[in-house]
Amino acid sequence: MLSALWSQIIDLSLFVILLRFTTPILLSALGGLIADVAGVINIGLEGLMLISAFSAIAVGSVTDSWVLGLVAGVASSMLVCYGMGFFSLKLKVDMIITGFAVNILGSGLTIFLMNKIFGVTGNYSPSGLHNIPVVRIPFIDTIPFLNKLLSGHSLMTWIAFLSVLLCVFILYKTPYGVHLRSVGEAPQAAKSLGISVNRIQYSALAWSGLFTGLAGAYLSMGMTSMFVKDMTAGTGFLALAVVLLGNRNPVGILFGSLIFGLASAIATVVQTIPGSKVPSQFIQMIPYLVTIAALVFFAIRKKKKLNDALRAQAEGAVKIAAA
């Protein structure tokens, strides 16, 4: 079993699977991040992804254009985010209630629309759909190892990783990013300087909708080419966990998503090795257990760092006192 796992690490299969699992989690976690940074925690990632996944493939298949599909997916997700803003910022509904409402809505609405528009229930798998393309890098494509490492990944995977840079840029390099952070951390202070807290939070939700929309479109038009009801199956909640695991910054989110992606990839590989005696339920548990372990690991390290500092200082203090 281990040798099979090892061989797939060597031939980069594991890496490729890891990238595919990481992409949607990373994107929607970035969406969660921006909202969280601005103090409007977005629990509705799951519902948003579903809505985007459906809109993307619906428009993409009808217009025969993945670009339009992608735009539609993102637009629908942003629209729902605007609605979240209306209820939470204007009508002052608790942000968490709004988020849960969007999750319930996402499931019901997509099934309803799928039925009304395409007359199908359960799933919609148009034939001849143009998926979000895969990026092949001409020159590298011919070099053994490197081709698998760099070429042949979905465009959305590249977008996801570039989005991490974009988020770093937005949050730390632009005035707007500083406004986002200040609104999340000290809304009174931001307000006192004439920064419109509401407007910033609306915009944060829009970003949240954008990234989550990309994640959703990837599910239906990249990872697969179909919409299946409730196809997110908890991905949004995992993204939420990654937002918190990633310590509320884009690079942390990247690492969190990679940890999760790796665990999922390993679980996938282990599950497809014949003759494995471990019950499937326990293999499926791996990503969740790894997430808890990672969280605890980082928490312990943080605490230990502080303790070490305290101890070192204490020893210093004793010396000073003795002197």
Binding site: T121, K229, A233
Partner: protein, 334 residues
């Protein structure tokens, strides 16, 4: 408006009008939601056809995924007294229907996919999914060892992707394995589970890993919506797959070579027809296997077109042996 209509406009074609000449009111209770492209949808088709061909008034009520809603959902239908017959199924409903049927003796029920006996107002039918799966396994074994099919490789490995690691799915798996081994004992079955019946991306990932790393060239989808990811993966790699419950051959012609069909639609239609003629055997259970046409491989034009003739013959041969009882298929369920 359906369901509510209590007007008794008698339809011509007399079939739908028993004794009193009143239009028959049938309702299909789904203990879950429609849209699995399999089981529930198949029954729904049967009920719909009954509505169209027999002139019945039919309505479908989805009970939702919360199991706690099902008893009250069913009971509210029974207690309303509006329906002449209630169609429902799955082993998850057996306790519930037993309870409700006892208390509403006048209400008639048609129950599929699990045996209920000893209740005078319930007719039930079961399908030998293990027999169907046996055929699927035999078919897969023939494919993976085939030299005619371009996508087949020499390795004797076939795949299985289940929605959840639960008995009903594992009954499919047992039949599948038995069928494969019947053709060639050296065959290995790689089995993986998605964990739910919705996560198509994950289903696809598992399938890709099976095809790419385990040298699987044909895999059996027993994962509902999530299993559609498997069919897509097979198609994208030029490999093969077997659909489930409904005929899924048309989804990826040439890649989905066949489907293991439970003819719930036909059997429900048949039961409703018999009911309309007042000939349905309430209080009894009927087992619908390969012989009775309750289960089997979907052999449509696509099948004829893409499956080599020799293979089709071998399948026919195995089917006959099953019919004659020369092969006994195990079931993990009973």
């Amino acid at each position: 408006g359906c369901g509510k209509s209590n007007t008794s406009t008698s339809t011509p074609g007399a079939a739908g009008t028993p004794a009193a000449g009143k239009k028959i009111n049938a309702v299909y209770f789904v203990n879950g939601t429609l849209g699995d492209k399999g089981f529930f949808d198949s029954a729904q088709r049967g009920v719909k056809q009954a509505g169209e061909t027999l002139g019945m008034t039919v309505k479908t009520v989805e009970g939702g995924t919360n199991q706690a809603d099902w008893p009250s959902g069913l009971e509210s239908l029974a207690s309303s007294g509006k329906y002449d017959v209630i169609v429902l199924g799955t082993s998850q409903m057996t306790d519930i229907i037993k309870d409700v049927a006892k208390r509403y003796e006048k209400q008639k029920f048609i129950f599929f996919d699990e045996a209920i006996t000893g209740l005078p107002n319930v007719y039930s039918m079961t399908y030998s999914q293990n027999e169907g799966s046996f055929m699927a396994g035999a078919f897969a074994a023939l494919v993976t060892t085939s030299t005619e099919l371009k996508g087949a490789n020499p390795e004797k490995v076939i795949g299985f992707i289940g929605g959840m690691d639960i008995p009903i799915i594992n009954d499919f798996k047992a039949g599948y394995e038995q069928g494969a081994k019947y053709v060639d004992p050296a065959i290995t079955v790689v089995a993986s589970y998605v964990g739910d019946f919705a996560n198509a991306p994950k289903g696809k990932e598992l399938a890709l890993a099976q095809y790419n790393s385990q040298k699987v060239d044909i895999a059996f989808n027993v994962a509902g919506g999530a299993g559609l990811g498997l069919l897509e993966a097979g198609n994208s790699l030029g490999k093969y797959s077997i659909g489930v419950d409904s005929n899924q051959n048309g989804l990826y012609p040439g890649s989905v070579l066949t489907s293991m069909v439970k003819a719930i639609d036909n059997s429900v239609l048949r039961a409703l027809t018999l009911f309309s003629q007042d000939r349905l055997g309430f209080g009894k259970n009927e087992v619908l296997g390969i012989k009775e046409g309750g289960v089997g491989l979907a052999k449509d034009e696509l099948y004829s077109k893409h499956v080599p003739k020799a293979m089709q013959d071998k399948i026919m041969d195995i089917e006959q042996k099953l019919n004659k009882g020369e092969i006994k298929v195990i079931s993990t369920l009973k």
